[in-house]
């Protein structure tokens, strides 16, 4: 019978390497709470497996980046590059995060109750991002797949040069990027988004605007490329 560990790790006297070594040693189902982390960078990065990690307080840069499986919760704020290149699993942040949330994310879910800095979701290749507040400039630049739901406002150049994927904004959009277009979300989308927000404890806005690609910047013939012509 597998043993599941539930424990607190006091990080006050541990180096970042020591903390991450402990996290790498966790087995599927293990649950840990990191205390006294002091918003250090590069915590819970590159982890595999279904472990649950709660960071008590703030996290620094790149929290839950490059992960494939873990569910990471931050009870405070997080810094730049949170959930960057996430493969699967989740990051949930109770506060705000810095720039580059979920950049190059390929799968999994990132939920931020507060707001983010610039460049949220740039180069997303999959996954699901939910932001309860607003996102900064250049968010979803060159997004390729996945979904970004923003309950508040979006900064300038939203969705610039996005290929595919879908962005929903509940508040004001400062400006759209090149090749991005906006339209009201459909009734089905609205219903699904409301349920999505409520499922994560986030109050949905009255309505959403959907932002998608106009596909005028595609620079290659995808069909020809696939057939090898």
């Amino acid at each position: 019978m597998a043993t599941v560990t539930e424990r607190d790790i006091d990080c006050a006297d541990l180096s970042t390497r020591e903390i991450n070594t402990l996290l790498r040693g966790l087995a599927d189902g293990d649950q840990v709470r990191l205390t006294n982390l002091d918003a250090r960078h590069n915590i819970a990065v590159g982890l595999h497996g279904k472990v649950q990690i709660t960071i008590d307080g703030d996290a620094g840069y790149y929290v839950a980046g490059l992960c494939d499986g873990p569910d990471v919760v931050v009870t405070g704020h997080a810094g730049n590059g949170a959930a960057e290149n996430l493969q699967s699993g989740s990051l949930t942040v109770a506060g705000d995060v810095g720039a580059g949330l979920a950049a190059t994310m390929r799968g999994g879910r990132a939920v931020v109750a507060g707001s983010t800095g610039a460049r949220a979701g740039v180069l997303m290749k999959g996954g699901d991002v939910l932001v309860g507040g607003s996102v900064g400039a250049f968010s979803c630049f060159m997004m390729q797949r996945g979904r970004m739901v923003i309950c508040g406002d979006a900064g300038e150049h939203l969705g610039d040069s996005l290929y595919e994927g879908k962005i929903y904004v509940g508040g004001e959009i400062a400006s759209l990027g090149a090749d991005a277009q906006a339209a009201p979300a459909t009734a089905e989308e609205e219903a699904e988004l409301r349920a999505h927000c409520e499922a994560h404890g986030i109050t949905p806005p009255p309505s959403f605007t959907a932002v998608t690609s106009m596909r005028t910047l595609y620079s290659f013939d995808a069909g020809a490329w696939k057939s090898g012509d």
């Binding site: 918003a39 620094g60 704020h77 810094g79 705000d96 800095g117 610039a118 900064g136 400039a137």
Partner: protein, 224 residues
């Protein structure tokens, strides 16, 4: 990289400025090992600058920062990228001839030489080859021409090329500006009693208040 810290107390009588800046810089020390410095403003309108090629702990010890009070101030830890590692090139940089205007900067101004040449033609004599000194002189030139600080900072978004997040301090004001690409992180936290500005959240004092990033191309000032 570099790290920026700044504090503005709502009460004009000020607060424990040296201790607050020192603590913030200590928590940003990983962002730069090539120097540190502070600019301290007193309620009487005096500005003094202390800087060193050492780290924030040495700076604090040398200048007894724990005991220093003030109305507002700035601090910096430096990671040198272009110019020599010495105390003269540590931040804050003061405007040539006007030491009451001082700047802490994170980034790289790529048209600094153009601006330097234009300012030299106005009679400005620079003491270093550092691009951050150019920012201080640029702001000072605008103030000397009678422009409001906020207008100068707003104009700097267009006229400074490259990446920059900077904080400028005068005896009666504090201002922040961040380039249009928001390349260099900068956060602001505010309570009824104080405003703190910092490169990273971990440098901000305590928790329990809302913090946010300074936006791309955003400018903001605080004034008495």
């Amino acid at each position: 990289m570099c790290g920026i810290a700044a504090v503005w107390y709502a009460d004009p009588a000020g607060g424990p400025l040296g201790a607050d800046l020192s603590r913030m810089l200590g928590r940003l020390a990983h962002r730069g090992h090539d120097g540190s410095g502070v600019g301290l403003a007193s309620p009487e309108g005096l500005v003094e600058v202390h800087k060193t090629a050492e780290g924030p702990a040495e700076l604090a010890a040398e200048h007894a920062l724990e005991t220093r009070t003030g109305s507002h101030g700035v601090g910096h830890v430096r990671m040198a990228t272009e110019t020599a590692v010495d105390a003269a090139r540590a931040h804050p940089f003061t405007a040539p001839g006007h030491p009451e205007v001082c700047v802490v900067h994170n980034g790289h101004v790529t048209n600094a030489e153009q601006l330097r040449f234009a300012l030299e033609r106005r009679g400005v004599h620079f003491s270093t080859d550092n691009d951050s000194e150019v920012i201080a002189a640029y702001i000072d030139a605008g103030l000397s021409d009678g422009h409001p600080l906020e207008d100068i900072l707003r104009r700097s978004i267009d006229e400074l090329d490259g990446t920059f997040s900077y904080v400028v301090m005068t005896p009666e004001a504090l201002g922040v500006a961040r380039d249009r690409f928001a390349a260099k992180s900068l956060m602001v936290a505010e309570t009824d009693d104080w405003t703190a500005i910092c490169s990273e959240g971990r440098g901000l004092p305590g928790t329990g208040w809302r913090r946010r990033e300074v936006g791309a191309g955003e400018v903001r000032t605080w004034r008495r």
